[in-house]
Assembly symmetry: C2
Homo-oligomer: 200 residues x 2
DNA sequence: TGTACATCAGTGAACGCGCGTTCACTGATGTAC
DNA sequence: TGTACATCAGTGAACGCGCGTTCACTGATGTAC
């Protein structure tokens, strides 16, 4: 039956949120549209009143997840001014590793995006550029822009790889999983301290 | 019809190789057993004479792929003694990014392994430990073991992340994709040079 | 070495199942008068 | 404000299809005599 405009909007958002959560946790190929709709409290048919296909829904869920996790990252620095080491602590925490479905779509889906459409690749690239810019902004004082960008790219790449492999081995070797997080945390931290010293 | 023992062995290897290649390229959920068998020149029924399930085949394909890519990495240093920068050049090359199906299973499947069984997680962890040890060995002169291991872990994590995101954006932003490879190459290189200086 | 027969790798039809998508229908919402 | 009706979000049955797995069967291989 028909539903009010605001209810329809709420339902649409619920579909996007459910798709994001489930796709992050089990992959786009690992979850059917029926389960996404059920998670949002609807039936699968309703999904097609909002999205023309599963892939279109996935693209929207990716963008929404990138936005959400960007806000969470900004917020993680709390009232304090954003700073490099604060972001590292946040990005390489056990909490980030252990909350797949809540976390960043880039860490959850990194190796799957390359198989998707150009549209999805493009949305992923936008999220990546924003994260690089956010990290780079914490480094800009006393650093050449090109250097700061290089460090920011390395931080993002290392974080995505570290979380992915820390999750991959968590089931069989929890110590290795923890070692990965702390080792990458320490070494990335040194990328900045070296820079800062030279700039002094 | 029955086939000679050596032919059966050849067919088994062909199944493992086909599974590895296709799973790396399109994910374990993205390829059916019928296609794997066809790629190996067999029918799907034959697959079950060698493996009790698709997952068992996937586990074996993962181990075989890890072995193959480890050998390729060792070989990449050619006749010269293995060295840190040689490995970096190899691991962060456009060639590594562009040959998904031939490349390393860890870069191709990083974000999917966490959803698989403990058996697969364990095989992944073994491959990871071996790669860490290989990189660490190039750093051991004049470095504390714990430091060398930390750097090696960071190199492996950053490489896996860098290749994954370089592939993810390749379809929509080729310049960003190249930037990722070269930025991570430069910054990881500096992890060693800093160490070497301090050790002098 | 030659013959009889058990073995078993490989074939292809069949299984139940869940997939993404479509569509006729429902009935509350929103609108025109 | 009250009534008549068009709209359309949501339902659930149905679609064709490919999935992983099973199994009766085939016939060359390997073995026992």
């Amino acid at each position: 039956m028909r539903v009010s405009k605001s209810q329809a909007g709420t339902n649409r958002k619920a579909l996007v949120a459910a798709a994001g959560k489930l796709f992050r946790a089990r992959g786009m190929d690992g979850v059917g549209v029926a389960e996404v709709a059920k998670e949002a409290g609807l039936t699968h048919g309703a999904l097609y009143a909002h999205f023309s296909s599963k892939e279109v829904l996935a693209a929207e869920a990716l963008s929404a997840g990138l936005e959400r996790s960007h806000q969470a990252m900004i917020r993680s620095c709390g009232e304090a001014a954003p700073n490099f080491t604060g972001y590292l602590d946040y990005l390489l925490s056990p909490r980030m590793r252990d909350t797949v479905e809540m976390g960043c779509p880039m860490t959850a889906s990194a190796s799957e995006i390359g198989r998707q459409s150009a549209e999805i690749s493009s949305r992923f690239a936008a999220g990546l550029e924003r994260m690089i810019a956010t990290i780079q902004a914490t480094l800009s004082d006393g650093h050449l822009d090109a250097e700061a960008r290089r460090i920011a790219i390395t931080v993002v790449a290392a974080e995505i790889g570290a979380i992915a492999i820390a999750r991959a081995v968590a089931k069989s070797d929890h110590k290795l999983s923890d070692d990965i997080l702390s080792a990458v945390r320490v070494e990335l931290g040194r990328l900045e301290s070296r820079r800062t010293k030279r700039a002094d």
